[in-house]
């Protein structure tokens, strides 16, 4: 049941076919974890907040640098040197004071993976390192929680939805950590924000049942040519070291 204030805030989206008060309530009851809150995770978290996700956990270790400001749109120049999770939480809390925002000044590691994923109903993976993405994937598969994985490089983007047991997982499509990846990647905020919105939409569709979630498909964005394509993925691998033992479900 929505409050009068919620009904007013979300009145323009309640008319989306299939959403309604029931879908809006589901969003409000959801805890989403977003890791990290940079060029991709920041705009994504903001869109989740705008949509009315009730509780958002922002996972990001480290302080804001000047070189983050071309893309990390939840930040502000006068916050350089402050923890980015706190900055992102402050921006989002000001934007939507009706939701709960939980900053976590840590990156995803083996040591905190279980604790962090346990707090969430759905995980949005926006980390720039394969090691973190693989950890999130593994923990989501173990706890059977949905994962929306997103990544970008230069003018390219990829978004991929993992429903443990029903779709391939990240380790099915990338059975090992790629060796060629370098920590610093070319990025302009307009592209990372666009990829973020696609991931946010997939999550909102999954939570509310509106539209059709791209399950078993890799969404590919080439903003250089404005091409959007989907590749139909092979079924989850029986020999996958992460999800192979899970029974197929629909």
């Amino acid at each position: 049941m929505l409050s009068d204030s919620q009904r007013a805030t979300y009145s323009w989206q309640l008319d989306i076919p299939g959403l309604g008060e029931a879908g809006q309530s589901r969003l409000g009851e959801t805890t989403a974890l977003v890791s990290r809150v940079g060029g991709l995770g920041g705009p994504l978290a903001m869109s989740l907040a705008a949509a009315g996700i009730g509780r958002i956990i922002l996972v990001h270790g480290g302080n804001l640098h000047e070189s983050d400001l071309n893309r990390q749109t939840l930040m502000s120049r006068d916050w350089i040197g402050r923890p980015r999770a706190d900055c992102a939480a402050e921006t989002i809390a000001r934007f939507n004071p009706e939701i709960e925002v939980v900053p976590v000044d840590e990156n995803f590691t083996q040591d905190n993976a279980e604790r962090l994923v346990e707090m969430a109903d759905i995980v949005f993976d926006c980390a720039p390192l394969f090691e973190e993405r693989f950890l999130m994937n593994k923990e989501c598969v173990r706890t059977q929680k949905p994962l929306i994985d997103s990544a970008m490089y230069s003018m390219q983007g990829q978004v991929f939805v993992v429903i443990p047991g029903a779709t391939p997982c990240l380790a099915c499509i990338y059975p090992e950590i790629p060796g060629h990846w370098r920590r610093q990647f070319p990025v302009i905020g307009a592209v990372s924000s666009m990829v973020a919105q696609i991931a946010a939409i997939e999550g909102i569709k999954l939570l509310t049942g509106i539209g059709k979630v791209c399950l078993g498909e890799l969404i590919m964005i080439d903003s250089g040519k404005m091409d959007f394509t989907k590749v139909k993925l092979a079924p989850k691998r029986g020999d996958c070291g992460v999800c192979g033992a899970l029974r197929e479900c629909s």
Binding site: G39, L129, M152, S154, G157, Q158, W181, F185, V187, A234
Partner: protein, 78 residues
């Protein structure tokens, strides 16, 4: 390779594996590093789609009617 797409006529019994070997030989070191490993086998991290569908067996001869082969290297910026 300096190009994001290229038209290629498939040879008889051409597989993705043989195709990648040929592309790697003329594509330069950086491209080769992404698509094949030190033994000349396709990288396990390279996702390959044929006409929009991921294929797993990269050694299988390709259907002569194939229209589009997509090589998708992993990316991880955020």
């Amino acid at each position: 390779m300096g190009a994001d797409s290229e038209e290629i006529e498939l040879g008889q019994n051409e597989s993705i594996q043989s195709l990648l070997k040929g592309l790697a030989e003329r594509g330069g070191k950086d491209f080769a590093e992404i698509v094949i490993d030190g033994d000349g086998a396709p990288r396990r991290t390279l996702l390959v789609a044929v006409d929009g569908q991921q294929i797993i067996d990269l050694d299988e001869p390709l259907d002569i009617g194939v229209v589009e082969i997509t090589l998708i290297p992993p990316i991880s910026g955020g």
